[in-house]
């Protein structure tokens, strides 16, 4: 197999650098604010943990503290966008878009206002805070909204690039972030192209059983580890990373399905309605293909350390490998 050349050269070494992708958001927002005077940021009492504090400290006149009121924050942002501002609203994904979904749908998306919605603390890897704070439904509720772009960057560098891209794009965008440090898979130089997937691992020779892994967000690294082991075990493996979940890179997905026996999707989200749902919907119409979805299986999370939770809910490297093997048994 061939690994994309732009990835972190220390990819499979012990001690690969880890960082929460919300740090990339904080840096990107600050940079966007320096470049574009119309960028404004809104917080619902979670300024530091969403990393909006970097922007707020530098540009207090462009920072709006909304208090613990996510529904109001979404619609205030819509009003600011109506005046030509580019508002970023940041909270935990469970509260925004979780609690403020209708305001986002009607006053931002249907209203066609240029608001960027930052959902931090997605996934079970939120950890000890437990199920109330672990958003594992956000991709589903956001990708169903017309006129909404959905991004799930995989690490600190990609999060920064996603923010800079979203600033230039006119229209509503949802960016999904996590709380815990995750391996830094890409580099500062890695490309980020809106709406395009990236083939991080490419199958280079024909093998008997071939797998097309499709992943997004925080679990890209687990999928990369699984790809490496599967390759070593004799499977043919490619890995497509989709930082843009909506609009879906249908060309890349179709290409993968046409050249591999089995498609396996990997995401830190409910199996229902997320990336796996999007891929299944698309392929069932275009090119019926067996799709195995790795994700949370219609249950809530719980407290615990992130790594333990990822393993418990069968989303880690071993779970991916098991699922692939089972996929070929049938």
């Amino acid at each position: 197999m061939k690994i994309a050349s732009h990835l972190n050269p220390k990819l499979f070494q012990d001690g690969i650098e880890r960082a929460p992708n919300r740090d990339g958001f904080g840096d990107g927002l600050l940079e966007a604010g320096e470049k574009n005077l119309n960028v404004v940021a809104l917080s619902a009492d979670l300024t530091e943990s969403t990393r909006v504090n970097l922007f707020a400290d530098k540009f207090p006149e462009r920072f709006v503290q909304c208090g613990v009121a996510e529904q109001n924050m979404a619609s205030v942002a819509s009003g600011l966008a109506a005046m030509g501002k580019i508002p970023f609203i940041a909270s935990y994904a469970m509260f925004s878009p979780g609690r403020s979904w209708e305001q986002i749908r009607t006053t931002i998306a249907y209203n066609d206002q240029n608001v960027k919605i930052i959902g931090a603390h997605s996934g079970v890897s939120v950890g000890p805070d437990g199920a109330t704070h672990q958003a594992i439904e956000d991709i589903a509720i956001m990708r169903v909204i017309p006129n909404m772009v959905v991004l799930a960057p995989c690490d600190i560098h990609e999060a920064r690039k996603a923010v800079l891209w979203a600033t230039e794009y006119t229209g509503p965008v949802y960016i999904r972030l996590g709380r815990s440090p995750v391996p830094v898979v890409t580099t500062k130089e890695s490309p980020f192209e809106f709406g395009k997937g990236q083939l991080l691992v490419e199958m280079t020779e024909h093998r008997k059983n071939t797998i097309g892994l499709i992943t997004t967000g925080s679990l890209v690294y687990e999928a990369l580890l699984a790809a490496k082991e599967l390759d070593e075990a004799g499977f043919g493996v490619s890995l497509l990373h989709l930082p843009t979940i909506k609009p879906l890179d249908t060309e890349a997905v179709l290409d993968l399905a046409e050249t591999h026996d089995l498609i396996v999707t990997v995401e830190e989200h409910q199996k229902i309605g997320g990336l796996g749902g999007a891929i299944s919907e698309f392929l069932s119409e275009k090119r019926p293909t067996k799709v195995i979805r790795i994700g949370v299986d219609d249950e809530f999370g719980q407290s615990g350390e992130p790594d333990k939770l990822i393993a418990h809910y069968k989303m880690d490297k071993n779970a991916i490998i098991d699922a692939v093997k089972k996929g070929f048994l049938r």
Partner: protein, 298 residues
């Protein structure tokens, strides 16, 4: 201050009457929609669009315009009729209300029709949007004289989000935000004070740091004076609680909550049978024989 002359008041009242007739005609053509709210707010909409707002019907996107946010989108027949009579689009188009392909959606859609600032319908989010606009204007110019008017219903104050917005408007001391509440006392299921009491409303707003005025929402002079005072308030948002009569102008509709969500032809038959409701409403408005006359005309 606006100091409306007798002639101006008369002219505004005649415009409001024409707008009420259009509302009835639109609702009859659509066969569905809300009657009481639009009729009750016809005077205030007329006053705003014909006398108060800085706007330009020929250039709806003029950047220096005031903003009018209609929060309770279901009373859009009055907004549509006022915009048409003010020259934003042809009056004949009003009869396409709620039709397939019409720019006059059942609830307003920004981008479909000139002059619509926000899409609205789900209650309780308009004040937040108006608040965002007012903050945006102030970011660009601390002493802005562009105002954001948010027209709201009383029933929608039961939505939690409005109180989030009210709390924040008070905190932000937004002098350029003027909320006007259609205090008609009714909602779909009955009287507001039975469904979920709102009183003491004035005290509630005052405790959230608003400047509060209460007016007769059908007295052009009184409403204009209140808006003038609200504009003069420094470092506080303003609310004008406009006491209105739902269904104002047509006696068979007035003060009856059952006319909240029914068009003429589908309303209660205790006074006039369904087939004659529209005709009777237009007769009253055209002859000015209903209660539309107020003391300024006497």
């Amino acid at each position: 201050m606006y100091n409306l002359s007798d002639e101006e008041v008369r002219s505004l009242e005649l415009s409001a009457n024409a707008i009420r007739q259009s509302i009835i005609e639109m609702l009859m053509a659509a066969g569905s929609g809300h009657t009481a709210g639009p009729l009750g707010m016809a005077d205030i909409f007329t006053l705003l669009y014909f006398h108060i707002l800085k706007h330009n019907p020929k250039d709806p996107d003029w950047s220096l315009r005031d903003r009018l946010v209609l929060s309770n989108g279901h009373i859009c027949p009055v907004l549509y009729a006022t915009l048409a009579h003010r020259g934003y689009f042809p009056v004949e188009e009003l009869l396409t209300l709620r039709e397939f392909g019409s720019r006059l959606q059942g609830h307003p859609h920004r981008g479909s029709l000139p002059g619509i600032e926000t899409s609205s319908g789900p209650l309780g989010s308009g004040l937040s949007q108006a608040l965002g606009m007012a903050i945006g204007l102030r970011m660009d110019n601390e002493y802005t004289s562009q105002y954001v008017y948010c027209l709201m219903s009383d029933g929608e104050l039961q939505e939690g989000q409005t109180w989030e917005a009210i709390m924040m408007a008070g905190k932000e001391r937004l002098h350029n935000l003027v909320a006007i509440i259609d205090r008609n006392g009714i909602q779909i299921d009955g009287d507001t004070e039975d469904v979920m009491p709102l009183e003491p409303l004035r005290d509630k707003f005052e405790s959230f740091n608003f400047d509060v005025q209460e007016v007769d929402g059908h007295n052009m002079r009184m409403v204009a004076d209140a808006i003038g005072k609200a504009q003069a308030v420094y470092s506080q948002p303003s609310v004008i609680i406009a006491h209105t009569i739902p269904g104002k102008g047509v006696d068979i509709f007035e003060r009856d909550y059952r006319w909240h969500g029914n068009p003429p032809g589908k309303g209660p038959e205790n006074m006039v049978k369904k087939s004659d409701q529209g005709k009777e409403a237009l007769r009253q408005l055209r002859t000015l024989s209903g209660s539309i006359k107020n003391h300024d005309l006497d």
